[in-house]
């Protein structure tokens, strides 16, 4: 169906969503769960970059940090402060997980902005694993730490008694929509941004408007650099907010 939509008559040169097609790296057989694809490759590159940054950043530690050490310290301090601000002192125990999630999304987002690269975070499968992972961890943690008192999250003590069941229902629904909105926000943002870039790239093939569309690509690319950072930040801070619910469900 997708091929008929943008037809032979005057459509774009390429389809803007073609960039999200998953291809196996070696050969072109069917894709199994263990097949190495372009998505796997770029996730691996992201992880490799993070390891490289953190290992070289902390190898020769100095009182006056060098460039790599500064960047590593900046990221570490930024996330640590965020976790501590939102969840309090008790939340600092879960800081490693949050730093891992943040760095992975940040690096995947920024590497995806390189030309010819692939964006793993634009795949709903990838972000769904991240989002559902956070959801499961927070729910299990909430019940382990608080026992049945975790359900106080849905029972508003300061609301009028008549309204409490209604509020509880709404809270329950919004609690279970969390993994969905959490993961779709990231994938949707990245996917929409990259699709817009490709749409303007398609317009650049038409001679009359190509200067305008090239300028537009530059502007949108700048916006995408901003969005890539903000989405990583938003995903992480929402993880912190959900974690706070698990740690202190009563308020």
């Amino acid at each position: 169906m997708a091929d008929e939509a943008h037809g032979d008559e005057g459509g774009l040169v390429f389809h803007p969503l073609d960039q999200f097609i998953i291809k196996p790296l070696f050969g072109d057989g069917p894709i199994h769960w263990y097949t190495v694809t372009n998505s796997t490759l770029w996730m691996a590159i992201a992880v490799l970059c993070i390891v490289l940054l953190l290992v070289t950043g902390t190898r020769k530690r100095q009182m006056v940090p060098g460039r790599t050490q500064s960047v590593a310290e900046l990221l570490y301090g930024f996330v640590y402060k965020m976790v501590e601000d939102v969840t309090g002192k008790e939340g600092a125990k879960y800081f490693p997980y949050i730093l891992t999630v943040f760095l992975f999304i940040l690096f995947a987002n920024y590497l995806a902005l390189l030309p010819m690269s692939f964006s793993p975070t634009s795949q709903f499968a990838v972000t769904a694993v991240l989002g559902v992972g956070v959801f499961v961890i927070v729910t299990v943690l909430g019940f382990v730490l608080n026992g049945p008192a975790f359900l106080a999250l849905f029972w508003m003590k300061d609301a009028p008694l008549v309204l409490r069941p209604v509020i509880a229902l709404i809270e329950l629904i919004s609690y279970f929509v969390r993994p969905l909105s959490h993961s779709i926000r990231l994938a949707g943002n990245i996917m929409a941004g990259h699709a817009v870039l490709k749409v303007f790239a398609g317009f650049a093939a038409i001679a009359a408007i190509s200067p305008v569309s090239i300028l537009a690509i530059v502007a949108i690319y700048g916006l995408e650099v901003l969005v890539a950072g903000i989405q990583a930040y938003v995903f992480t801070i929402l993880t912190c907010v959900y974690l706070k619910d698990a740690l202190h469900p009563s308020h």
Partner: protein, 78 residues
């Protein structure tokens, strides 16, 4: 013929779903504008509220992304 009408419905529906993006834009602008208005009145409190700002922006924006998702589903999955 029936296929054509179904396809037209797909496209019209996808286009109408795009209205949702505009609605989300209003919401995001509202959040950011109110933050700025508050921040200019009390600049010393602004820095501590940036996290809240981003959470608000994220929630407002997520609903626009849902509209985008509906458009995508109509175009490619139906």
């Amino acid at each position: 013929m029936e296929g054509d009408i179904a396809q037209m419905g797909q496209f019209v529906g996808a286009g109408m779903a795009a209205i949702g993006s505009g609605a989300a834009a209003i919401g995001v602008g509202h959040v950011a504008g109110n933050y700025l208005a508050g921040a200019l009145r009390n600049p010393s409190a602004a820095a501590s509220q940036t996290a809240t700002l981003f959470i608000g922006l994220a929630f407002a924006e997520a609903l626009g992304i849902f509209a985008f998702l509906v458009a995508l589903l109509l175009m490619f999955a139906v």
